[in-house]
């Protein structure tokens, strides 16, 4: 049996409210809050990036896994905001954790799906017996262009999962992948902000792939929505995951524990993985959990997990995701946010 041995999340303390962004661009905050079901989002400090958040989330995962970092055979990081264009994030993270040098590292990129992609691959590595433990991380400090609808959601956070065959907290019962070539969101080389195809990002992109993935994996597993205690779908805004859940036959109560986006924003590669960490924080042994990520371009990775007895032992060994979401918050004004995100720069001599 292969599964998650340890998990952890991390998010910055800074937040900005939808009203603060809307005020600057003359937008109607109530309609954004209602339409996108967003209230605020996390903002990284200037000294935080995909690498630093990955390290912190992984430390939490290591505490819950209770293993020596030297036992980790692979470190895979999925992100669309790797700090370097050329130079791996994975080596920094592996080095900071103490997992080097006998470790395989790779950086993944697939819009918001890169995190679950790492999970998918590391799981196979463990299953094949190539490694005893593998670490998969989804992390992003995503950027939305000033005034663009994405600016209200694009946020920062990370989730890390250590996979192995012993001391499992949630077994992976089944995986499934659903991909097509769909140009709904992209960022060209040397461009700072991504572009998107507005409403085209909905039906033919997000909804088609998540429903395709969820229906496919449930059919393969011969399971129905009511067989699951919880479901996590990618969260680009508050509305989409609730709507796709309803389309598939899931109830609000199944989705809500992992539905972090109204207060966290869209953490891109961290999005559904962070939802999974929040769900594991409250799950009980025997619970079945469905997770379907979504990455523009486009595709969805599906996982079915079964929570084990060990969850009760490990969940308090590291900060819980919703505790981090609700405590130590530092609200920013738009000016400070713009400075922190490099949207405005001080003149240099």
């Amino acid at each position: 049996m292969v599964g998650i041995v340890g998990y952890g999340a991390y998010m910055p303390r800074n937040r900005i409210r939808v009203e603060e962004i809307a005020k600057v661009w003359g937008a109607d905050a109530p309609s954004y809050k209602r339409g996108l079901m967003l209230e605020e989002k996390s903002v990284p400090s200037p000294d935080q990036d995909t690498i630093t958040m990955s390290v912190e989330a992984s430390k939490h995962a290591l505490r819950r896994a209770g293993i020596d970092p030297q036992e980790i055979g692979a470190v895979y990081i999925g992100s669309e905001s790797h700090p370097y264009a050329v130079k791996p994030s994975g080596t920094v993270v592996a080095e900071a954790l103490g997992a080097t040098p006998e470790v395989h590292t790779a950086d993944f990129e697939f819009a918001c799906k890169a995190g679950s992609e790492g999970m998918y691959v590391v799981l196979s590595q463990v299953e094949a017996g190539h490694i005893s433990y593998g670490l998969a991380i989804g992390a992003d400090t995503s950027q939305g262009a000033p005034g663009d609808a994405l600016e209200y959601a694009a946020s920062a956070g990370a989730a890390a999962f250590i996979f192995g065959k012993q001391n499992i907290v949630a077994s992976v019962d089944l995986t499934y992948a659903f991909m097509t070539d769909t140009p709904d969101f992209w960022r060209r080389e040397y461009q700072y902000y991504p572009r998107h195809a507005s409403r085209f990002t909905g039906e033919p992109a997000y909804f088609k792939h998540i429903t395709g993935c969820a229906r496919g994996i449930m059919e393969k597993a011969q399971m129905k929505p009511e067989d699951f205690a919880y479901a996590i779908f990618h969260q680009p805004n508050g509305k989409f995951p609730m709507r796709v859940g309803k389309m598939l036959g899931f109830k609000r109560e199944q989705i809500e524990p992992g539905w972090l986006v109204p207060k966290l924003g869209n953490t891109y590669s961290g999005s559904s993985p962070m939802g999974l960490t929040a769900t594991l924080d409250i799950a009980v042994p025997g619970d079945k959990i469905l997770m379907c990520s979504y990455g523009s371009g486009a595709g969805s990775d599906g996982f079915i997990f079964t929570v084990t007895d060990r969850i009760e032992e490990v969940r308090d060994m590291a900060p819980k995701t919703r505790v981090m979401l609700d405590s130590n918050k530092n609200y920013l004004e738009y000016g400070t946010y713009a400075k922190f995100r490099g949207k405005i720069n001080k003149i240099t001599e």
């Binding site: 400090s45 200037p46 000294d47 935080q48 690498i51 630093t52 430390k59 080095e95 103490g98 001080k346």
Partner: protein, 129 residues
């Protein structure tokens, strides 16, 4: 300016808080030393605790060029829970309300970036708990 080679040499300390513990008298040095005050030259590598208490601090308002954007910021001496003291930037806090005795934890952060195209330097900073 930080060169890649100099940055690389300090990775064990900056990334993992690796200290040298004298195998004879047990004294711990961070960063590690070649010779202990007791005269011994054998050390084991230990990783320091990642939580501690702020012993003292100062607020930098006129910063060196690479840190100008961060001013005002706090630099503190933190005693980690294993008794070792280190100097670190204290971030994610209001420097006007920072107090001696504040409990802090060590986090992995970006310390500086070398110009527009140079390396990114990572290491430890402290944040209030």
């Amino acid at each position: 300016m930080v060169t890649p080679a100099r940055y690389w040499r300090e990775i064990p300390q900056r990334y993992r808080l690796e200290a040298g513990k004298c195998t004879r008298c047990g004294k711990t040095y961070f960063p590690p030393r070649l010779v202990c005050a007791c005269g011994a030259r054998e050390f084991e590598i230990v990783r320091l605790k990642d939580e501690g208490t702020l012993q003292t601090f100062t607020v930098i308002r006129v910063a060196p060029s690479q840190f100008v954007d961060e001013a005002p910021y706090a630099i503190g001496i933190v005693e980690l829970n294993d008794g070792v003291r280190l100097t670190a930037q204290v971030v994610d806090c209001d420097v006007e309300h920072l107090e001696i005795g504040q409990k802090v934890k060590v986090e992995f952060r970006r310390i500086q970036t070398v110009g527009e195209a140079g390396i990114l330097c990572y290491g430890y900073k402290c944040v209030p708990v």
